[in-house]
């Protein structure tokens, strides 16, 4: 892929992120109520998007050929279990990643 396109992708990601952070300051005022639909989306969209991103991350997992997505499954379950147990995101992320790396490099 061309350098120019990569730079354009980074620019788009930066510009859209900046726009999202500034937009509320441009359209809403402190003394007027925020539209109910916007408040509703603010409540329901974030958890849905995290769910979407979990699937997005696993999109290229090959479940029909060996090792049938087993490293992903084991590592994912350990992240969830650790998070439920310790409630420490950094610990869950680090441990899950190390487990996955060990699995794909040494076991499967």
């Amino acid at each position: 892929m061309s350098l120019g396109h990569s730079a354009a992708l980074v620019a788009v990601m930066a510009a859209v992120t900046i726009l999202l952070r500034f937009l509320p300051f441009l359209i809403f005022r402190a003394d007027r109520p925020i539209p109910a639909y916007v408040v509703y989306l603010g409540h329901v969209l974030p958890p849905a998007i995290i769910g979407m991103l979990v699937i997005y991350c696993l999109k290229d997992t090959a479940v029909t050929a060996a090792p049938y997505g087993l490293p992903e499954l084991v590592a994912a379950l350990s992240v969830v279990a650790l998070q439920v147990w310790k409630r420490n995101s950094l610990l869950s992320i680090l441990s899950g990643t190390v487990i996955y790396m060990l699995l794909v490099q040494l076991v499967f």
Binding site: V10, P24, A48, I50, G51, V79, T97
Partner: protein, 227 residues
């Protein structure tokens, strides 16, 4: 005051440096070196989006896909900003405070507290700036270390999956209504099966927004969500 802001940013420092290193290594593995890590962390400054950005770059995504993906992944920032409208309305350093409003910075500044006698605007600017520095430092470190560490980094891409799985689990544990989370998970899965791994993202975003819009009225979002 610089000291107070520094100590306030320490909990974020560990996370940002570690995740930043992960991002830097991933980006290097995708063929983009230290200048890219520095530029992305300085200018985009949104952790989750940058991880997704690595795969957008590696897959040569279209600009439209990149823009829409950024909107979806970062939509939550709209709501951080909404909740800060009042506080930042006449603040000094306002543009930078808004630019640097990441999840973590929001989480440590949203309580509105500043040390006694300190200028709150300057204090918030400094906390934001420290956090920004940690993130850039971690990314650059990762990019540099990625080329010299003696062991194989194969599999490190799972850090992105782990990041989202941990937030998914955490929000599942802290909310009672799991319909939004399940909507996101299942709609995306259906779209992945229907459209394939290269073109399911935009349909999934549309489907999620549609379903959640249709479900509005059936759900009773708690009012304290945006405050």
């Amino acid at each position: 005051m610089v000291k107070a802001a520094f100590f306030r940013s320490v909990p974020v420092m560990a996370g940002y440096i570690v995740l930043g290193i992960g991002f830097g290594i991933l980006l290097r593995d995708a063929g983009y070196g230290v200048a890219w890590a520095f530029a992305m962390s300085l200018l985009i400054y949104a952790g989750s989006m940058q991880f997704v950005g690595v795969s957008l770059l590696a897959g040569g995504a279209s600009l439209l896909t990149a823009a829409l993906t950024t909107v979806m992944v970062n939509a939550r920032h709209l709501f951080y900003s909404i909740s800060m409208i009042e506080r930042y309305q006449n603040a000094k350093y306002k543009p930078y405070l808004i630019f640097a409003l990441t999840d973590e910075t929001y989480s440590i500044l949203s309580d509105g507290k500043a040390p006694e006698g300190a200028d709150p605007d300057r204090y918030r600017m400094l906390v934001s700036l420290f956090d920004h520095c940690w993130w850039v430092t971690g990314s650059v470190l990762g990019s540099v270390l990625g080329s010299v560490i003696p062991f194989s980094t194969r599999g490190i891409e799972f850090s992105m999956t782990a990041l989202f799985l941990a937030s998914f689990t955490e929000q599942w544990l802290t909310t009672r209504n799991h319909i939004p989370a399940l909507t996101g998970l299942l709609s995306t899965l259906v779209c992945l099966l229907l459209f394939g791994p290269d073109r399911f993202l935009i349909p999934a975003m549309l489907l999620i927004t549609l379903i959640l819009t249709l479900l509005r009225g059936r759900m009773h979002p708690r009012k304290e969500a945006v405050q």
